[in-house]
Every structure is written in structure tokens, then in C-alpha cells.
Point group: C2
Chain length 320, copies 2
């Protein structure tokens, strides 16, 4: 089957490319390499299309033609700096998704799979948060843009354009994870093994999923289809950790005992959700559940970064 | 107080302008006259700014400066033809709302009031539908675009930019109503008093609110503010009618007994919601409820159109 992955040179996208390739798919990758990395494309990842989804002159339909599924993973995933440029999430998450939907409809692609986020629940009133939670108040432009993109895919699916499956992830960890708090801490500790500075007071509770669990969900979970062409699944672990837990695991893995300076806030920045814990019962009913715990995912990330220290040199200010 | 109304030359906007003027506000109207009408501006409606909100070169901040409230009513309200141009709702409803939010934040306007729609609930599972209904599946690009605009306003409000009040309307009837089924039927019956052709089989259930009730809600309902800077209220009547009911009231009011040809579908077009009935308990708790019944609203519309037959000449293919 021909499969197209937008954002296919990114963290999740390139890992998905490897998995689809391994099962024999004809994989086509679309990426603009704004955050995707050549290093993640091992040469066996399929056909590369260097396209910026927000470039209206770049035609997607020829790439989508004949595909059995579009995995739309390309996005601006920077939750933190949305307010510096209020149009970036709109362009990269909403307009790009609408362009993908238009082209998938025009090319008669039967399936569109979309990587959304637990951030669409904003400050959820219900925790763990199920897929049919109340219409949320958004707390970030990132969450707003992902909710908007979901709404558009839903309208296309209901209109009969294609089956759309929306997967709302918690943060994903594991090999190739090149942004967020784990690499930030390792970068600090590589420069100075004795000191670590933490945004927020370290009590922020987080839920992390292993990349391998994520990929299994992306490949296997689908909206029921016929009569129900739109479906949403939460993907996460039924567990949380605090930033302090994670720091303990990271420093232990590195064999370090640094002095740690915490901030005073219970969140790292305005719009940072202090607590995302998703109800994953629906995915479980559909045969999926996480096989890796949070500590295991953090340690796998540490191991990979220490084995691939080139990623520490790369400029990446994002944190989730 | 300086009040700015986007879409202020439109049906709801111009009526709101009259009401705010009557209470002494310094009213500023923004309209691009794509569907707004000069005829609705009686000369006493305040300062006119001929601006297209989607025109990035048109600065909104100078108009917003010093305003106590922005009433953002400008929108593409054409639910029916969204699929002919998938970008129209995006530009006119999402991008325009983002521009209004950016300018309101920059000008330190304390209040933004947004006219949303019951269509954001898609095919609601819960009827009457409350504000905190489950995250809906969208059935139209219009609904998707309004849901997206709400999400953006929510993010700005949570970020502390302003208090945002979202009002989800059922369809509004009464004086100055120049599109939708009432004018469509009157137009047909003016040409041929003996025949009427109806989209759908006439069993579609609808809920309509009188413009005067709508305006009272727009002026008086607000999110609680401090600590809760984002609030949503449904505005509607606790009642429904069928299209057949409405036809009976219209023809009786016109003194006609036409032969009626119905379609076979239970909805007028793909994406037409067969049934919107909003739970209005929350607005009632905040002191608002509809004072006019549906029949009264339909008849008021008929009377106004018959007294203002110029509107029958205007080209308007929209129907809600």
C-alpha cells in the first residue's frame, strides 16, 4: 500500500516511516525540514518530497494520488512560543491540515490519520480526560489550532470525503526525541554536571508515552468507518510522573547528583498545561494499550541522546 | 462607551448598532458590505469604517483604540455552500476572528463578544444541547470554522488578553432578515402565489429566535470575568417548529393557499443540521430568556419583508 507521511522526517514521522517500510508499504514522505532532520532518514525510508504544506503553489494531490492512507503529522508543535507569532499555529496546523484534507478528498484517499494532542482539552475539568469530554476552554494557541484542525477533518469526514482518525497524544518520548525537558536537562548537565536549572517548581505532573507505543496506535487505530467516518482516540499511559521524578531518573541514568534550582511557579510558562492525563479506555477497547511505562520512556530517551550527542549541538528551544 | 461592531451593517449588527446608539454608546461600525446593506444604516448608527477584516493591510487597532467592547459579528454565515470554496469560512470566520483578537489585545479592549452558532454542535448527541456538550463531530465547514474561531478566542481570553463571551445562536428572525427560508418562500409566492417548492421534505425541525431577544442577549450576557475570562451561552427558544409549520404561518399571513412541492430528503442539503435545539438554562440563570415565540418571529419577518419589498429584488441565495 502507498502511504504518505507529512512531517515524515520528524521524530514521530520518521519512526512511522521505518515501521511502515518494514511491513512493506510504499512510503512517501513530505517534509519541509523546518524541524525534520536528514539524520532520521536512513535512506530506506521511501520517496522524499521536499514540500512546505503551507506553500499554496506546492501541489499535494499528485503525491497523494493512489495512496491508501495519509498520516498527517506535520505541525508546529511548539506550545510555548505561540504568542510570539499568533499566525504560525494557524498556518502550520490549521491551513496545512485544510490543504491536506482538500488534496486527500481530491485524490480519493480513503484514510486520513491525524496526530492531535491532549492539549486540545485545555485545562480539563475531567481527569483522566475521555474523548467525549465537554467542549473545552483552550489555554494555548497550539491547542486552539489543533482543535480547529480536528474540526475541519471532522467536517470533511462527515461530508463523505474520507475516513478521518484523530489521535490525541500525550507527549511522546524515546529514540529520536530531540526537544523537550529531557534533552534540555541533558544539555545543561553536559555543560555543567553539577548544576541544573528547572522552569517551574518541578511539581508539574506529566504523562509520557513511548514512541513505539505511539507508532502502534497510529498504524492500528481507525475510526469505525461506514456510517462513522470520524473517530477520535486518546493515546497515552494510565500514569503520571512529576518533573522532579523525571529529573531523578535522568540524573541517576547519567550517574550525576547535581544541585537543582527550581522556579517558583507550578507551571513552566503561561499556557503550559499543569496536568494532562488522558482516559485511554477507548483505545484499549480497540485493542491498543501502552506497553512501556513513563520511567522506561524517559530512560530510553536519555540512552538515545547520550549515544547520539550530535543532537545536543542542534539549536532547539522547544520544551514540552 | 465606545463600542465597535464588526459586520455592523448586517442584519444583527445594524440592529445592535441601533440599540447601542439608543443607550448612548459611541458606536463604530466595521463592514465590507459583502452582505451588509447601506439601507440598514439609517444615518444615526455611528461612525462607519469600510474595512474587510480579511485584508491584512487594513489596520483594526486604531478603530479598536479606546473601545469598551468589540462585538464581533462579521462572518460568512452561508452554511450551505461551504464546499464550493473550502477557504471562505477559514478566511472570513477563522482568520478574521484571529485578526480581531490580535487587535483587541493590542488595543487593550476589555471585552470581546462573539456571535457563534448552534451549528458548532454538529449532529448533537444530546438534545436540548447544553454549552458543555461533548466535543462534537462537525457536519459543515461553517460549524468547523466557528468552532475554530471560538477556540482561538478562548486561548486569548485564558492568556489574559481580554474577557471573551461566545454566544451560540439558533437562527434569528425578525425585521431586516434578508436570507433564509422565509424570504425564499415569499419571493417564490410573490412571483407565483399558487406554487411553492421546498428543499427537503418539510419535516426538518428548526428553532428560531427573535432579533430583539438576540440583541438583549448580546448586550447583557457576559462571561463572569475575573478568573473566568471565557464564557459561552446558548441563545435560543425552548421550542421548535417544522418547516411545514413555518410554511403554514407564512402562507396564512400572506392570505395564500399555494400547492406545495416538497423534496424527499429529511434535510435540505448535505451538512444541513436536521435539528438544532439548544439548552438555554445557563442564559436563563444569567437573567436572559427569549420573550418571543417562533410563530411570532416568523410572522414579524413576513410583515417586515412585505413592507420592504426591495429586499425581494436583492440576489441572495443563502438559506438557513
Amino acid at each position: 500500500m502507498k502511504s504518505v507521511i507529512t512531517g515524515g522526517a520528524g521524530y514521530i514521522g520518521s519512526t512511522l516511516a521505518d515501521a511502515l517500510q518494514a511491513r512493506g508499504d510504499d512510503v512517501h514522505i513530505i517534509d519541509n525540514f523546518s524541524t525534520g532532520r536528514e539524520e532520521f532518514l536512513t535512506g530506506s525510508n521511501g520517496t522524499m518530497h521536499r514540500i512546505d504544506l503551507t506553500d499554496e503553489s506546492a501541489k499535494l494531490e499528485p503525491v497523494f494520488e493512489g495512496a491508501g492512507a495519509i498520516y498527517h503529522l506535520a505541525a508546529n508543535a511548539d506550545v510555548r512560543f505561540g504568542w510570539n507569532d499568533t499566525r504560525r499555529d494557524l498556518q502550520q496546523n490549521v491551513v496545512a491540515t485544510l490543504r491536506v484534507a482538500e488534496a486527500a478528498a481530491a485524490a480519493n484517499v480513503p484514510d486520513v490519520v491525524f496526530s492531535s494532542t491532549g492539549s486540545v482539552y485545555g485545562e480539563a475539568a475531567q481527569i483522566p480526560t475521555p474523548e467525549d469530554a465537554a467542549f473545552p476552554d483552550q489555554t494555548s494557541l497550539y491547542g486552539a489550532s489543533k482543535a480547529a484542525a480536528e474540526a475541519y477533518l471532522s467536517a470533511f469526514a462527515t461530508n463523505g470525503s474520507f475516513r478521518a482518525t484523530v489521535l490525541r497524544f500525550v507527549s511522546v518520548l524515546g529514540p529520536r526525541y530531540t526537544h523537550g525537558h529531557v534533552i534540555d536537562f541533558i544539555r545543561q548537565l553536559t555543560k555543567d554536571p553539577d548544576h541544573l536549572t528547572v522552569l517551574g517548581n518541578g511539581t508539574q505532573r506529566k504523562s509520557y508515552m513511548h514512541i513505539d507505543d505511539c507508532i502502534r496506535g497510529v498504524i492500528n487505530l481507525r475510526a469505525p468507518g461506514e456510517g462513522t467516518p470520524f473517530g477520535v482516540f486518546n493515546l497515552g499511559v494510565p500514569d503520571i510522573c512529576t518533573v522532579r521524578d523525571s529529573i531523578g531518573w535522568i540524573t541517576e541514568r547519567m550517574g550525576l547528583s547535581p544541585t537543582i534550582t527550581f522556579g517558583t511557579e507550578d507551571r513552566g510558562w503561561v499556557g503550559d498545561n499543569p496536568f494532562i492525563l488522558l482516559d485511554v479506555a477507548k483505545a484499549k477497547e480497540h485493542g491498543w494499550q501502552a506497553e512501556h511505562g513513563i520511567r522506561e520512556s524517559v530512560e530510553a530517551t536519555v540512552d538515545w541522546i547520550l549515544e547520539n550527542q550530535w543532537v545536543l549541538q542542534a539549536h532547539d528551544v522547544r520544551a514540552t
